[in-house]
């Protein structure tokens, strides 16, 4: 963990116009929750679609995709990553700093709105459960996407294919693939922590904790390993 790298990364992330694209998503989610609540619909009717269908399935992965591939991927794209790599720092510290910033930003833009939705629906416990699950999910997603940005030249494409095809299409068709989907494990964590009837999952709690830890640690380790033997290449194809 290196504070200078972290602050540069944060500035690079927040200083771009594309960061503004992130804000409408959580705002729409909050707006819909507020609308459903003020129209007098029962929480049992709208929490499922808004939290499960919108919050955990769309807002969290899309935020993590843009932020997670942006912290290192944009520097690799424009070639400035060389400046960091030539500094006398262990590669481990670079990855950990980038991961911390990515996780923090994602947890902020996806976790806080989920907390507010939970608060609106039932109470503090559901809100906290959703928030903690969202932070764990941010860590797992960001570690995965950070590793992807070092494994392939087009991390956003591969990440999109993972979110859309694996979690979206296959998760609905073949239920077994849910065990290996971050999204479903995050729902399981939220279920376990909140103990609420509004958020339900079929995955057991120890498995969900284990899966999220495997995604987070595995992604981080892979990213560190890849950055150790990183070679700067020009733009091809």
């Amino acid at each position: 963990m290196n504070l200078t790298i972290a602050s540069i990364t944060l500035r690079g992330l927040l200083g771009r116009a594309r960061f503004l694209f992130l804000l409408p998503l959580p705002v729409i989610m909050l707006g819909l929750a507020w609308l459903a609540d003020s129209l007098g619909a029962a929480p049992a009717d709208w929490v499922g679609p808004i939290v499960g269908g919108l919050g955990v399935a769309v807002v969290l992965p899309v935020m993590a995709l843009i932020v997670g591939t942006g912290v290192l991927g944009s520097e690799i794209d424009d070639g400035t990553v060389v400046h960091i790599l030539t500094k006398p720092l262990p590669r481990r510290e670079i990855i950990l700093a980038k991961l911390a910033v990515a996780t923090g930003v994602t947890a902020l833009v996806a976790g806080i709105p989920l907390f507010l939705v939970g608060l609106l629906a039932e109470g503090v416990r559901l809100g906290l459960g959703l928030f903690v699950a969202a932070v764990a999910g941010s860590l797992a997603y960001c570690a995965l996407f950070l590793a992807l940005s070092l494994l392939t030249r087009r991390p956003v494409l591969v990440g999109l294919a993972y979110v859309l095809l694996w979690e979206g299409l296959l998760g609905n068709l073949l239920k077994g693939t849910r065990l290996l989907s971050i999204q479903q494990n995050v729902v399981a964590l939220a279920d376990a922590i909140s103990g609420s009837d509004l958020v339900k999952s079929t995955i057991s709690t120890p498995f969900a904790v284990g899966a999220v830890v495997v995604f987070a640690v595995g992604g981080t380790w892979l990213a560190i390993d890849r950055l150790r033997s990183f070679s700067v290449a020009g733009e091809t194809s």
Binding site: A41, L157, T236
Partner: protein, 292 residues
């Protein structure tokens, strides 16, 4: 200076052959963009994604055809096939649309195009047509496999004729799919000069819109509001197309359940046409100004 400054006449000549003109330039741009979409004539790396997507689409069609041959009746109709793999079409358009337009913007080669007889509108429309055609081909190839399976399994000439009608309806619906997603993705791609960002925005928009219409449909069915049940489909591209499907296309055996549209079918048709027209106009407006 006196001797070295001479320009020798080594027989420079004007080009006096035929000039192929604007139509030829537009056709070439269209054909090459369509080839680029499938990675033809490019490196192996750029073939991976389009053929991976086409492979999944073909695999689904082969499975559906095989199950139909075993069971003796269609499990998935030609029109519902596009609905079933809409996520794949979105992913394909989200990658191909920006691939065709963003690279030219990023590398600043547009002035080279516009110094030819090609006008700005020609460029934009050729790129749009290429994206739409590529998305249509992605759906048309598997539909053809399904049709061949259905036609060879049919009992007589009359059945084959019905099959041809349904196949044609499927191709028509696939064209609507390609038009909507192609227009949206080309527009977003022309606004963002980085392919990855444009792809993420298109896919994020689609996921968001689908989830929002899902939430609204949940509220509509929970509160028993008929008006809301018939209009929530207008909120996302995939359900908008489903509404057009329910309104304009005859029922086929093996149809998936579509959203209820009630008497609002024509509204879905109008909104569809409006969105496609708006995206095309915005694309033309974008290329009226842009230099790089």
């Amino acid at each position: 200076m006196s001797e070295s400054g001479v320009i020798h006449d080594i027989g420079y000549q004007r080009y006096s052959g035929p000039r192929l003109g604007r139509g030829y330039a537009v056709r070439s741009l269209y054909a090459h963009s369509l080839r680029t979409a499938f990675g033809l004539g490019r490196s192996g790396k750029s073939k991976i994604f389009p053929w991976f997507a086409a492979g999944i689409a073909l695999l689904v069609a082969v499975i559906v055809t095989a199950v139909r041959a075993q069971m003796g009746k269609p499990v998935l109709s030609y029109t519902s096939y596009a609905d079933a793999i809409s996520i794949l079409v979105v992913l394909f358009c989200a990658v191909i649309g920006p691939e065709l337009v963003s690279r030219d913007l990023r590398s600043g080669v547009l002035p080279l195009y516009f110094s030819r007889p090609l006008t700005r509108a020609d460029y934009a429309l050729a790129k749009l047509a290429a994206t739409v055609s590529a998305a249509w081909l992605l759906l048309a190839m598997p539909l053809t496999i399904m049709f061949l399976g259905g036609a060879f399994g049919a009992g007589g000439a009359k059945e084959i004729w019905t099959e041809v009608g349904r196949y044609a309806a499927g191709l028509g619906y696939a064209a609507l799919f390609a038009l909507l997603f192609g227009a949206i993705s080309t527009l977003v791609g022309s606004l963002a000069s980085r392919r990855a960002v444009a792809a993420a925005i298109i896919a994020g928009f689609f996921l968001m819109a689908t989830a929002v219409s899902g939430v609204v449909s949940g509220i509509a069915f929970a509160t028993d509001s008929t008006a809301l049940q018939h209009t929530f489909g207008l909120l996302s591209p995939a359900t908008l197309l489903q509404g057009v499907h329910a309104w304009a296309f005859a029922e086929q055996p093996g149809d998936l359940e579509t959203i209820p549209v009630g008497g609002l079918g024509p509204v879905y048709g109008l909104v569809f046409a409006g969105v496609v027209a708006l995206c095309t106009l915005l694309l033309l407006a974008r290329y009226r100004k842009v230099a790089r």
